[in-house]
Symmetry: C2
Subunit: 491 residues, 2 copies
């Protein structure tokens, strides 16, 4: 199994692609740029969904569903939004097919042309604010705290499984507030939900901060982001939360009567996180043996493999294994007992390593005699023999340790690869060798930002929330700067 | 509140529409035929999803996700399928917009025309079987038991909220099997899952049976259906399960090596249930006061309303109410304490009746003194005063009774409106007065079926699985018939 993976250190991009395919997470479909998310990959997404949905509801949000289609004219309403979004997208122009002349195929019916073309949503601010207009009259109707789980389409030219696909799955929160302060607070609350989710569940340490003006969401006054470091030294934007000010309220004329009887425009936020996160999960933790999944998001947490020669041995082992499986399941874990006779234990070991199952238990004749089992942890591949009496506790302990260990390993890697630099030659040198985050001074001009991008492909990933005031000189222009920002090449 | 509902007995269609809007379940959007599912309506769908998903997983299925887009040519591969499906659908022809001449609007970029048009999935058999082709080589790769939660689009000309919309949400199961028997068994298993769900959770009694050839899914050898009676005497097809034979395997060339080393085509099923079920839920149980929701699917099961004159009274009541809410929640129920001072108790009572909350608790000063509370059940509107000591048990008992009662009420209505008829004049008479199901003999010709439809708008809803062999004469043609089938007008 694993031997068919490209070596991670030789070709990271190919290793990633091999892993997605061989671990049965996803594959390309017959439609350019669209992927099929296979059951194992989708099971990870379901785990992500369940945790996030719980966190959204705990912070007062409810789910709803808005149309897939957006009338073309809606995009022109918010000037910055149309500039940033409406270009590369799927356009529906007709609503009927008809049988062709041969009688065997179908063609688009030219009679069935839409008066106004419909765009497949690349994001839903416009169609949602067009609805909110009818929902909001008074401050009593506010806040509106809605999330939507949906598919969206952005016609990307260069696609990669999970990381960048024409269609992807995501959640998009769209909230409406009576005051600027409340909307800003919501924007912050949601970037914190994302970072908490990333760190506690994905085991993914993130930098939190502001996007620069040129990296902001189209139509936002402010975009907050969480940025995570992948093993090849590139950053991945893992979730964003936008303070939209009154831009969409003005574009769709959404006003309300405030407590003082005055008519005001509504304040907005939006925030989203997508199936891209599955890509981040893979890239951040996995190795040359395959996936390493954090126990809290692993679809299968424990696998039990019997080691046997005879049918008698298998039968005795199976008895122990089934009882153990039942007990582990009662304790809240997802467990599989793999007693397939078609594959040898070694093949199974490699396969579950490829799939990233956090803990593997092997039971052989000697274990039966000694009342023990062999446990292997996926993150370090370390093995230990434990007595059956204490195995349940040990497995839970181990799962916690694995969750903690892969977070700490990723954190160490991230910290070791965050460089505080002041010289342009060092900046270029680091990008061309290890990659990673570079904390450097910047003169706050879009011009410098653009030049750095042109010369090095690095962008400002964020201005960290905790970036302290510090006198310095821009690493590129030498002009004065008041604080450091984080640069990196990115996905 | 409720007084703004059209009277159910005067205009059922308008009553339904009023109810969907006023109970805040859904509304029409700016896009023709597409609805916005509002938070309260979506919460019901989430409950439906959670139960069905659990049932699918318990029967061995896993979830996955396939592309929204289907290449146009895929539809032509299966002849019956293209005939039945590919006509009224949304067609994507372009993938880019550009700024128009004024610089303010956008137009479709004529340069960005797709070589082959993409259809928004009306159902996913074709794109899924095109994927299965690569997944299946040997009998060891079978069965594949996959479900997908997705949005689909069928360009309906006349739409109604939940019941018939251009875009709707659903689940679609697509399974692949090594033998005909196994596929037939799966088709049956899933119609049974649907009927169990309908009866136990939706409180909706259903007739289970086969569709006639002319009512079958496009491409199926057999379609099983569950049919439920709405209060206006029309039937609603609530879920279908299709035995697809080898049709899609042949269309997409999906063969496997069986246990004997022979190359065979794979056997298929598909089955789906949609947001239409929310419409069925509303239509089957609700009344002139508003929604009646089965407790097992009600987003909010219990509401507590304080009855008070002074702030002091409110404060004493709130103390009791908050404690009661916490205890009810600990016992597994979803509960709201509505202490809003902006609305009077009578207004709140009417509002929660409109929203179909199964149990309402009112606590006033007299209750405080007596250690009691007043409970009202939504299904019968009956009230009772209960001592606080026994209230938790009583509420659970009541929720079970309500679930049971609305099922039995619907069953009684369905049975009272199922007519065993042998004369054509009675057939016409019943359809024009009460409506309902008509169990009658049919000569098994598509011609008779079509004529009955033309003359009465009634169709054969199903040939019930339990329809016994019985000599008779077709109610329309008088020709011999071997068993009765069920006719009705339908949604």
């Amino acid at each position: 199994m694993a031997k068919f993976l490209t070596n991670r250190d030789e070709n990271y991009a190919q290793w990633y692609n091999d892993l997605v395919i061989k671990a049965d997470l996803a594959e390309n479909s017959a439609v350019r740029g669209c992927m099929v998310i296979k059951p194992y990959g989708y099971a990870i997404w379901e785990k992500i969904q369940a945790e996030l949905d719980r966190m959204f509801k705990a912070t007062g949000h409810v789910n709803a569903y808005f149309p897939l289609f957006i009338p073309k004219s809606f995009f022109s309403r918010e000037a910055a939004h149309v500039e940033g979004f409406a270009k590369e997208c799927a356009v529906v122009t007709h609503y009927r097919l008809k049988t062709d002349e041969t009688g065997k195929g179908v063609v688009v019916d030219p009679e069935a042309k839409l008066e106004e073309e419909l765009i497949i949503r690349p994001t839903s601010e416009t169609i949602i604010w067009n609805s909110y207009k009818n929902w909001i009259q008074s401050y009593r109707d506010l806040p509106i705290l809605i999330n939507q789980w949906a598919n969206v389409v952005r016609w990307e030219m260069r696609t990669r499984l999970f990381l960048r696909t024409a269609e992807f799955l995501w959640q998009e929160g769209h909230t409406a507030h009576a005051t600027r302060e409340e909307a800003v607070e919501e924007t912050e609350r949601m970037i914190n939900v994302y970072s908490e989710f990333a760190e506690n569940f994905m085991a993914l340490p993130v930098y939190k901060g502001y996007k620069t003006a040129s990296e902001r969401f189209a139509g936002a006054l402010d975009t907050y982001t969480i940025e995570a470091l992948m093993q090849d030294g590139k950053s991945l934007q893992a979730g964003t939360s936008h303070f939209l000010g009154q831009n969409f309220a003005k574009a769709f004329d959404v006003q309300f009567t405030d407590r003082n009887g005055r008519l005001e425009y509504v304040w907005a936020t939006s925030w989203g996180l997508s199936t891209r996160m599955v890509g981040a999960l893979i890239m951040a933790h996995s190795d040359n043996h395959g996936l390493i999944l954090p126990p809290k998001l692993a679809p299968l947490q424990v696998v039990i493999v019997p080691i046997y020669k005879s049918a008698d041995e298998l039968s005795s082992i199976s008895e122990k294994a089934e009882a153990l499986k039942a007990e582990l399941e009662r304790s809240g874990l997802s467990v599989k007992y793999d007693n397939r006779e078609t594959n040898k234990p070694g093949w199974k070991f490699a396969d579950y390593e490829l799939k990233g199952v956090p803990v593997r238990i092997a039971i052989g004749p000697r274990d039966l005699k000694n009342g023990t089992a062999e446990i292997a942890r996926r993150d370090t591949l370390a093995k230990e023999t434990v007595p059956m009496e204490s195995i349940i506790n040990r497995i839970h302990e181990l799962l916690n340790q694995i969750q903690k260990n892969i977070f700490e390993r990723a954190l160490r890697f991230r910290n070791d690869n965050t460089f505080r630099l002041d010289k342009w030659s060092d900046f270029v040198e680091v990008l061309n060798s290890s990659g990673g985050f570079i904390s450097a001074h910047w003169d706050e001009t879009a011009e410098t930002e653009e030049k750095i991008k042109e010369e090095t492909k690095a962008t400002i990933r964020c201005i960290p929330f905790d970036s302290a005031a510090e006198e310095g000189k821009c690493i590129y222009s030498g002009k004065p700067s008041g604080r450091r920002v984080l640069f990196a090449r990115s996905y």
